[in-house]
């Protein structure tokens, strides 16, 4: 073996990474070859020098800053638990919404046929819907007027969507309703996006989300992003980055609290 061939072995010898046979071979070579011996000593010296490169202290605000982010993320995590994660639950969620919707329509049609008297109160006691029509001063008014003058509230014990905006916080008693509060006052946006390379998109998006301190969850084919800061920057970036982008239910960059569902389309 030539000296140059010993180079790798000597380097591994410094790290104690040789088999007993190799070790023996190197040791006996070092005894006989002054050049390699010198080179070995320099290597030892160099490695030792590297180890003495001191560890640098953590910047003062690092830990506090980090824990702040973690706490924030943890609170958010609890807050978005209303969103069912299992497919089964998701179906229940959707059917509950559909049911609420249809019940609403049926109820509304019912109202049309009710012979209206003053102080009409209608209550359905099945616990799903409670509708109350308050005083209507002029009997025989057209349906149009009734709509205007009556206050109607629909309460849903299941997870619902639109009517929930009428729930007052003090009305929230049971756990289900509490969960629905996650949607209250926020705006849900769906964004279908086409990108060139999925991995790069994910990396960059995660980087931006991290930098803006926006919480997110990775979904099957995209992201669920929970913004509680203005989403302007993110929207801007998505528009700029995408090959093709489609917004559903509109997007308003003025929105302060938005849930954006980013769905990746036709990824190569």
């Amino acid at each position: 073996m030539k000296c140059s061939e010993y180079e790798v072995l000597i380097s591994a010898y410094v790290d104690g990474m040789l088999s007993p046979q190799e070790k023996e071979q190197v040791v006996s070579h070092l005894e006989n070859c002054t050049q390699c011996k010198a080179s070995y000593e320099v290597l030892l010296h160099m490695v030792d020098g590297c180890r003495q490169i001191n560890e640098i202290e953590l910047p003062k605000d690092f830990h506090q800053n980090l824990m702040g982010k973690i706490q924030k993320e943890q609170t958010k995590k609890r807050c978005i638990k209303w969103l069912p994660t299992k497919k089964d639950d998701r179906w229940r969620y959707i059917s509950a919404m559909v049911a609420t919707f249809f019940l609403g329509i049926i109820l509304f049609n019912e109202i049309k046929h009710i012979n209206l008297k003053t102080d009409t109160e209608m209550t359905q006691e099945n616990g799903v819907i409670v509708a109350s029509l308050k005083e209507n001063e002029e009997p025989g008014d057209s349906i149009h007027n009734i709509e205007e003058r009556s206050t109607m509230s629909i309460r849903s014990r299941n997870v619902g969507e639109a009517p929930i905006s009428q729930i007052q916080e003090d009305e929230v008693v049971n756990g289900d309703l509490e969960k629905t509060l996650g949607v209250l006052g926020s705006c849900k946006i769906v964004c279908k996006i086409k990108v060139q390379e999925k991995a790069d998109f994910e990396r960059q998006l995660e980087y931006i989300l991290g930098k803006e301190q926006i919480n997110y969850e990775k979904a099957e084919n995209g992201y669920k992003v929970n913004c509680n800061t203005p989403i302007e920057k993110l929207v801007e970036w998505l528009e700029e980055y995408s090959l093709d982008i489609e917004w559903e239910s509109g997007h308003d960059s003025e929105v302060d609290d938005a849930q954006i569902e980013i769905i990746l389309m036709g990824v190569s």
Partner: protein, 206 residues
């Protein structure tokens, strides 16, 4: 005591994975300085290293549930750290090939320049620690990236060969030869830089 602290760490990991931020704090306190240092070595700029290290810690928090203990926790942490930094480097296309002192394939001269290496050894043994460190560090920065990374991981941060192999997704054999080549290159650079330092040093000593 070692076993105790390992069992304790195990508990922290499990609790943190369930969303216990207190357990996570205990856990991350053990690693954050190291994470920051690795980021700092690999990325060079303190502000970038700060952001990257925060990103790494948050990634660890998010991915804890996925950590099944196939590898040592520390190995996993260093892997997340290294990968995050390498990704950032790639992203920024910061390829330090411009200081490529050697041709592709590292055709180092066959004969080892004993005289020069001996000089460096003598010189460095006379220098105060800080000076050696600075000379070494500057020389490491002049290495091309693949060598710089293994020197940082192995000789500064003390990763094992297996850990480096896992982090960089290369075989143990490749790790061995890459470290050897990286060190040979570092030695060359040190020899070139030493003349600069020798002048400086002589001036100082007089």
């Amino acid at each position: 005591m070692e076993i105790n602290s390992l069992a304790e760490e195990e508990r922290w990991i499990q609790d943190a994975a369930k969303g216990n931020t207190f357990a996570f704090e205990k856990l991350i306190m053990k690693y954050e300085t190291r994470i920051y240092n690795i980021c700092l070595r690999l990325l060079k700029k303190p502000d970038e290293a700060y952001d990257a290290a925060q990103e790494v810690c948050i990634k660890i928090w998010r991915q804890l549930q996925g950590f099944k203990g196939e590898s040592k926790f520390s190995t996993w942490v260093y892997r997340v750290t290294t990968n995050t930094c390498l990704d950032l480097l790639r992203q920024q296309k910061k390829v330090y090939d411009n200081i490529n002192l050697f041709e592709e394939g590292d055709k180092l001269s066959e004969t080892i320049d004993t005289e020069k290496t001996r000089q460096w050894k003598d010189l460095s043994s006379h220098m105060v620690d800080q000076e050696v460190t600075r000379l070494l560090w500057n020389s490491i920065q002049a290495l091309k990236e693949e060598y710089r990374v293994v020197i940082i991981l192995r000789d500064i941060e003390g990763y094992s060969y297996e850990e480096i192999a896992k982090c960089l997704s290369i075989s143990n054999g490749t790790v061995k030869s890459r470290i050897s080549r990286a060190r040979a290159n570092l030695k060359k650079i040190l020899e070139q830089n030493q003349e600069l330092y020798a002048d400086l040093l002589c001036g100082n000593r007089r």
